[in-house]
């Protein structure tokens, strides 16, 4: 990890060589105290619940009666559960459909914003606005934009002579609608993160590149992109962790699209993400034991996927 490469802080250098070294833990007690609230809260509302959920996943429990030991059968079932695998597929497809256009558009927007001097503040305000909106409110709005009968997208298709698409009734339509919502909501936010990253790049680097006769494309790939890598890593990690746990978008968008359950993810469960599936198993089916196993499955997928992304971006950096 990058933190290991940092030089030791100056305190070690200014301490006289003759002073007896105090033991590390006691010398730094205030540092531990400063970071402790997070870890204490995490202990109470994270670690203990997580441990409890591990325990739960080895049992059968409907939340009311007594728990019944189940061993690893919940996980055995999870591994062969077609519905869970489908929800992983749904989640990854929606994530990819949303994230790649989003990162590309965000970077292009950031570079444009960086060279636009006039109206820059107004632009930033406008681009950040989608991220301000609540997912619930905006999913209701997008539900009407993608509605089959009165939606704007179909009205546009009809106006140019194309066939209408039952967006919220077909597997791909559902995924595209959810991904569009996410792209719309996150592009401007990430553009502003990228812009902040761009602005930490010293201006004299560009000046030097210009004197050396580098063109704008060369400058982008040789200076901007390498120095933007920490920001890109940040954006990618956040998008992965949040994108793979999407819940509100499909839930609100599709809660009335099927009579089965508000967590069912629409027709053929095409919009049922991993987290939706978790909620359905836990709070609709009252299957707390299996729900806990599903939660662990989701965690594994998110960690694996984040590690892959992290490695990809870092590997590129070494080349």
């Amino acid at each position: 990890m990058a933190v290991a490469e940092q030089t030791p802080p100056a305190v070690d250098r200014i301490r006289p060589a003759t002073a007896p070294p105090r033991t590390g833990w006691r010398r730094h007690w205030h540092l531990y105290a400063a970071i402790s609230p997070f870890y204490l809260l995490f202990l109470a509302f994270g670690l203990i619940p997580v441990g409890f959920s591990l325990y739960l996943s080895l049992h059968r429990w409907d939340g009311l009666g007594s728990m019944e030991w189940a061993g690893l059968t919940q996980y055995q079932y999870l591994f062969t559960d077609v519905d869970f695998w489908q929800s992983i597929g749904n989640t990854l497809i929606i994530w990819a459909l949303a994230t790649f256009p989003m990162i590309f558009l965000a970077m292009v927007t950031a570079v444009m914003l960086n060279s636009a001097v006039r109206f820059r503040n107004a632009y930033r305000f406008a681009y950040f606005l989608p991220n301000v909106t609540s997912v619930v409110a905006i999913a209701i709005v997008f539900g009407s934009v993608f509605s089959t009968n009165f939606g704007l997208v179909n009205a546009l298709l009809q106006a140019v002579g194309l066939d209408q698409v039952a967006w919220l009734n077909t597997p791909w339509g559902i995924k595209v609608a959810i991904a569009t919502l996410m792209t719309w909501q996150w592009t401007g936010y990430n553009a502003i993160i990228f812009l902040a990253g761009l602005q930490t790049i010293p201006g004299d680097l560009y000046e030097a590149a210009r004197i050396d006769g580098a063109g704008p494309v060369q400058t982008f790939f040789r200076i901007t992109l390498p120095l933007l890598r920490p920001t890109l890593l940040f954006v990618l990690v956040v998008s992965t962790v949040t994108g793979l746990q999407s819940f509100s978008e499909p839930q609100v968008l599709l809660q009335t699209a099927s009579n089965e359950s508000t967590f069912s993810g629409g027709p053929d469960h095409a919009g049922r993400t991993m987290v939706l599936y978790f909620f359905q198993q836990t709070f609709d089916n009252n299957d707390f034991g299996y729900g806990a196993a599903v939660a662990w499955g989701i965690f594994l997928v998110v960690v694996l996927f984040s590690l892959i992304n992290w490695r990809l971006v870092q590997r590129r950096g070494e080349q």
Binding site: M1, V3, H28, L31, Y32, A34, I35, P37, F38, L41, F42, F45, G46, P49, V50, F52, S53, T109, M112, S115, A116, V117, R118, N121, F125, A126, Y127, V132, T133, S134, V135, V136, A137, I138, I140, V141, F142, G143, S144, F150, G151, L152, A155, W184, Q199, T200, F234, V238, F247, S248, Q251, V252, Q255, T256, T262, V275, F279, G291, A295, V303
Partner: protein, 279 residues
């Protein structure tokens, strides 16, 4: 910006592209406002309505008759304000430590933090629900505030920010002047990272205001919920019957947040630029 001088055509293309982006960002808001002024039968007719109608007040009246709009808004305000205050304090303190100090176990603790960051919230959802039911927090706003008081995302973000924004020389100098840890945090670190704090504060407030999954489960009394849950109830039960009213709810729920953003945006937009350039 010498390269842009004298290239007016490029400047126009630049601003034209940026304005297209602005229109795409803004359109759903416009569409929502338009729909909140129409009756359901108008909304369901073809072609789609692109200009305001005359049924806004009627929709508002119907909305207020259907849900406790202001009650749920007050709940949302309470939760978002309390959490934002706590997060700014606790996250920046921890981030300062991780960004600027070396101590035994730092890397391991930070790796743990990143791991926690990746722990899906729903993983703890069932036990958290059971525990809170035991201590009697379920159904109250406390069940939303306390677990959110510090978070891995904010520490990660502030640490990234502090590592580049706070110069080691500045800390060394203050240390030689006899400043202790808390003084360094309060008088050296915080003033420098104000843009980062503004960003985190607005981000946190918005996140809490918009939080939906956990409140949906933790707030078991349907008459005492946050705004987002109320809105979803509206969509779930009345969505197919009165679309104009649902849209009105969506629009009104956005207004407080837009106000907060309009106030805070000056912080983000002004200070983020200045702070980033300085760093």
């Amino acid at each position: 910006m010498a390269s842009i001088k004298g290239s007016g055509r490029r400047g126009i293309a630049l601003h034209a592209s940026l304005i297209i982006g602005v229109l795409l960002s803004a359109f759903p808001f416009y569409w929502a406002v338009i729909m909140s002024t129409h009756t359901s039968s108008e909304i369901f007719s073809y072609p789609p309505k692109l200009l305001p109608g005359s049924h806004f007040t009627e929709n508002v009246r119907h909305l207020f008759d259907t849900v406790d709009f202001f009650g749920s808004m007050a709940n949302s305000l309470l939760v978002a304000t309390a959490v934002t205050f706590l997060v700014l304090l606790l996250d920046s303190l921890a981030a300062f430590v991780f960004a600027k100090f070396d101590f035994p176990g730092r890397n391991a603790l930070f790796a743990l933090l990143m791991l926690i960051f990746m722990v899906p919230a729903q993983m703890a959802a069932i036990p958290q629900f059971v525990i809170m039911a035991k201590i009697g927090w379920i159904g109250s706003m406390t069940s939303l505030i306390v677990p959110a008081a510090a978070n891995a995302f904010g520490i990660f973000w502030m640490r990234q920010y502090m590592r580049s924004a706070i110069h080691d020389e500045l800390l060394d100098a203050s240390r030689l002047d006899g400043a202790n840890f808390l003084r360094q945090y309060w008088h050296v670190a915080l003033p420098v990272v104000r843009p980062g704090l503004a960003f985190l504060g607005i981000f946190t407030f918005m996140g809490q205001w918009n939080d939906y999954a956990w409140p949906l489960i933790a707030l078991t009394n349907p008459d005492n919920v946050t705004l987002q849950v109320a809105l979803s109830q509206l969509n779930g039960t009345h969505g197919t019957t009165d679309y104009g009213m649902v849209m009105t709810g969506a629009v009104l729920a956005l207004i407080p947040l837009l106000i907060v953003f309009a106030i805070g945006a000056r912080q983000i937009i002004g200070d983020l630029a200045k702070g980033a350039v300085r760093g």
